[in-house]
């Protein structure tokens, strides 16, 4: 690892859209409002995780979710995670574990020890919850372990752990053969959550309200999909840098009118930009896909650095946690809980059929291929965050498999006889390495050197294209 001086405050990333610029204050307001709710004590606060398809249930019960990964991300973005990470380490937790969780546990332990917020806590700190709702799904062990570890320091705060599995892709098995019992199980798990919340809040679930909220978030899902598809335009009006802001309503505000309205506005803004021919970058030369990995929250300005080289990011696999419901092959149901469970299964199996049809493909690879074509992508960028296995194991292989089964770039090469011949080459890719919030793993010099080289590679491919 390279020791290099790091600025205490990151350079602010310049956003391309007004909508993305409005996110910062929104998150701050949200954190402040949870602190206020804590002080007032009228509503229950729950620690919980994004992408569990349970927001509708929480909101229908008037429970305020505290997205603990969000707070860790804020600490990272403010370059103020280190002291919480160190605290976690001093408890015996290894730095090789999920640093979101380490940051959260370190923070919780400190807050509980003091009986108040740690000094200068980012944005006033993370409120103490009334209860914690975890789910490791089948992809994130730290999520099932995090709250259990935090509970050591606040044993009076109960945990409800939901199991939310989905059938893993297996080439020779149609997931529909098994998803019936998956659905049944998930429904029971979610109903268990309802009972837990009823017990905690001493209120009964209002199923009409739940149905309305599910409908609202379904409409938001479709709207997000339509909005993001506008980014197919050339030049691209909004890049992944902005999407790392607009993930906030997707991940933290689902099932609220505000999230829906946000995307109405964003959609209008993008349509305006497209009409004017305005792109994320002034002169778009390369269209890149953020093809895997969570971003380094303290180094989002690297997206601006890419932009400065004429590279735009029309699409990303990260935090696009929605898929168009009308394209999902899931049964109709009037029961909102049953619908949530189907939507969960529909989302995770979205690419299965297509992947099964292409030899050598696999859902994650299939999504890359489809989006490379839909968004006219010239190169794939991924980020390997060392502390997170959930999103970062399998990326090397995905690129390997992608280059094996998909070669779309025509180039001329000089053969042995000196004659030029046309061959097809794979999409070039770049893997950046650091972490989500542990800045000690990050080197700006190295990262930018890699980006420079990648851009130069893209340029030479652009010049040598045979079409």
């Amino acid at each position: 690892m390279v020791d290099e001086p790091k600025e205490a405050k990151p350079k602010k990333r310049v956003t391309a859209t007004r909508a993305a610029a409005s996110i910062g204050p929104m998150v701050k307001e949200f954190i402040t409002s949870t602190l206020q709710a804590r002080a007032e004590g009228k509503q229950k606060l729950a620690y919980t995780f994004i992408v569990c398809h349970h927001e509708e249930i929480l909101r229908a019960m008037d429970v305020i979710p505290i997205w603990t990964e969000n707070f860790a991300g804020i600490c990272g973005a403010k370059r103020d995670a280190e002291r919480f990470l160190q605290r976690a380490e001093s408890l015996g937790l290894s730095r090789s574990l999920c640093t979101y969780a380490l940051c959260g546990i370190g923070f919780d332990q400190w807050r509980e020890e003091l009986g108040q917020m740690p000094p200068d806590a980012p944005w006033g700190g993370q409120a103490r919850p009334d209860f914690m709702i975890s789910s490791g799904q089948i992809l994130c062990d730290p999520r099932t372990k995090w709250y259990q570890a935090s509970q050591q320091f606040m044993p009076d705060v109960p945990i409800y752990n939901i199991d939310l599995p989905y059938p893993l892709f297996q080439r020779d098995q149609d997931h529909r053969e098994v998803w019936g019992y998956y659905h049944k199980y998930i429904v029971k798990q979610l109903r268990g959550l309802v009972s837990f919340l009823e017990e905690q809040t001493k209120k009964k679930m209002d199923y009409d309200r739940l149905r309305e909220l599910v409908d609202l978030s379904d409409r938001t899902w479709n709207l997000i999909d339509e909005t993001y598809k506008l980014r197919r335009a050339i030049p691209c009006p909004m890049g992944t840098g902005d999407a790392m802001n607009t993930m906030v309503p997707i991940c933290f505000m689902m099932a609220t009118q505000r999230a829906y309205d946000f995307f109405v506005e964003l959609k209008e803004e993008l349509e305006e930009k497209i009409a004017k021919g305005e792109g994320e970058v002034e002169e778009e030369k390369y269209r890149l896909m953020w093809g895997g990995g969570l971003p380094a929250w303290y180094a989002l300005s690297n997206f601006n650095y890419f932009n400065s080289k004429g590279a735009s990011f029309p699409v990303e696999t990260t935090y696009r946690m929605v898929a168009p419901l009308y394209e999902m092959d899931i049964p109709e149901t009037k029961d909102p809980i049953e619908h949530l469970a189907w939507r969960w299964l529909g989302y995770w199996t979205f690419w299965y059929d297509r992947a099964r049809k292409r030899p050598g493909s696999e859902p994650d690879v299939e999504r890359l291929i489809n989006w490379i074509e839909e968004y006219k992508i010239d190169g794939v960028v991924m980020h390997e965050a060392f502390s997170c296995r959930t999103w970062h194991v399998g990326l090397i292989w995905q690129l390997h498999q992608l280059s094996k089964i998909y070669k779309p770039i025509p180039v001329y090469v000089t053969g042995k006889d000196g004659k030029k011949e046309k061959v097809f080459r794979e999409i070039p890719s770049l893997i950046l390495e650091s972490d989500i919030i542990d800045i000690t793993s990050y080197s700006e010099v190295d990262t930018r050197n890699k980006i420079d080289t990648f851009i130069e590679t893209l340029e030479s491919i652009r010049l040598n294209r045979a079409d």
Binding site: L91, G92, L93, S94, S96, L97, C98, A101, S134, G136, I138, L139, C140, D141, P142, T144, K145, W146, Q148, A149, Q151, Q152, P155, D156, P158, I159, N161, I162, D163, P165, P167, L168, F169, Q170, Q173, V178, Y181, Y182, K184, Y185, K188, Q189, G192, G360, E362, D364, E384, F386, S387, C388, R389, T390, H392, V393, G394, L395, I396, W397, H400, Q401
Partner: protein
């Protein structure tokens, strides 16, 4: 086979050194082996299909040379080693591979394994992370899916009788292991920690009937020992995941400790829980593999409202074995990048304190090269408690 009567431990050692050698011989005779990783794979279903289960093992002496081409280095180092050996063809004699939902490293790399290895049969068993009525129901279905999948592969149905028979023979295997552990209760133990771990590790590479026979022979050989293999020393419990190489245990014993108990996956965690007999076999298997395997991967709700109550419930096995085997100290040995165990370190430490067992916590990668570093710390620990 004669070798066995006189030197079953020698045979164990030779199988251990050349892991899979017996399976390879049997494959030549037409026997089929299905590889598996992690204790969550229901071996009885493999046995009932007429195939034999073969536990994929890593090798601490072998540098990872191929695996990194396809798999990130942030994967659990033990698992990386298993993958590296597999892509290098070490286990090419297997007919298939089963991977369960044991941890993120397994789930997220399932595609990598299934596209990189030359087997005809792959299956992923989705093990729930909670224990309640709905998860048993689900797991019951999931085990039936596994049963159908392997039926399709072997081309014959697996009856409930087949399963009951397999449950019986695997329980016998577990009973024999229990008896082997009884030999550890003597002071000094009649069987050393490295002999025991070697025996169990080897057992997982043999057809279950052969493993049972071998365990009987080891039992016969060891129980009549006049001289114990180790000098009296601090009695140590090893706490951790799958430690399928005896390097650490050997080091402890070389430094004067007696390894007499463990919670490891290729030890008590997997071999102590029996499958209940009678009733519907798939139900019994679901119950054993979901509830009886005490792995940090499974979330167990805190029903007491206190931290002390929580850890007493979650880590009951440690306390029970510490008492049963009269343990003087414990080594919590955790692989780097292991999320399920890694997040439990503070709670486990607190638990050891509560039962007044001195603890040495080690974080390591999966490599013989790091033993030198561990030596001084283990030595100091043994001196401290000795």
């Amino acid at each position: 086979m004669n070798e066995r009567k006189n030197g079953s431990l020698n045979l164990v050692r030779s199988y251990y050194e050349d892991y899979g050698s017996r399976a390879k011989e049997l494959v030549k005779e037409g026997k089929r082996f299905i590889g598996y990783i992690c204790s969550f794979v229901p071996l009885e279903i493999i046995t009932a299909s007429g195939c034999s289960a073969f536990r994929i093992r890593g090798d601490v002496h072998e540098a990872i040379t191929k695996g990194d081409t396809l798999l990130e280095t942030i994967v659990c180092p033990y698992y990386r080693s298993c993958f590296d050996l597999s892509v290098k063809g070490r286990y090419d004699f297997l007919s298939g591979l089963v991977i369960p939902h044991g941890c993120d490293s397994m789930v997220r790399s399932y595609s990598v394994w299934s596209y990189s290895l030359p087997f005809n049969f792959f299956h992923f068993v989705n093990v729930p992370t909670v224990c309640d009525d709905s998860s048993f129901e689900f797991f019951h279905e999931e085990l039936n899916t596994f049963r159908r999948s392997i039926e399709k592969f072997v081309g014959r149905t697996i009856s409930d009788d087949d399963l009951n028979q397999a449950i019986r023979i695997h329980n016998e295997n577990r009973d024999k292991v229990r008896t082997l552990y009884e030999l550890r209760k003597k002071d000094p133990p009649l069987i050393s920690g490295s002999e025991l771990t070697m025996t169990l590790t080897v057992g997982s590479s043999l057809p279950i009937e052969e493993a049972n026979l071998l365990f009987d022979q080891v039992l016969a050989e060891v129980s009549v020992r006049k001289e114990p293999p180790l000098k009296k020393g601090p009695r140590i419990l090893i706490d951790g995941a799958c430690i399928d190489n005896i390097g650490l245990i050997q080091l402890v014993e070389e430094l004067g400790g007696n390894v007499v108990a463990d919670t490891i996956c290729n030890g008590a965690r997997d071999f102590f829980p029996r499958t209940d007999e009678g009733g519907y076999p798939i139900d019994q298997l679901a119950r054993r593999y979901l509830d009886k395997l005490n792995c940090p991967k499974t979330y167990r709700a805190n029903k007491t409202g206190t931290f002390e109550g929580d850890i007493a419930y979650r880590f009951w096995d440690i306390g029970t074995y510490a008492k049963e085997f009269k343990v003087d100290g414990a080594i919590l040995y955790i692989y780097r990048y292991c999320d399920p165990f890694g997040f439990e370190v503070p709670a486990r430490k607190a638990y050891y304190q509560s039962i007044k067992i001195p603890l040495l916590h080690l974080e390591d990668i999966y490599s013989a090269g790091t033993l030198g570093q561990l030596r001084t710390r283990i030595q100091a620990f043994l001196e401290m408690i000795g």
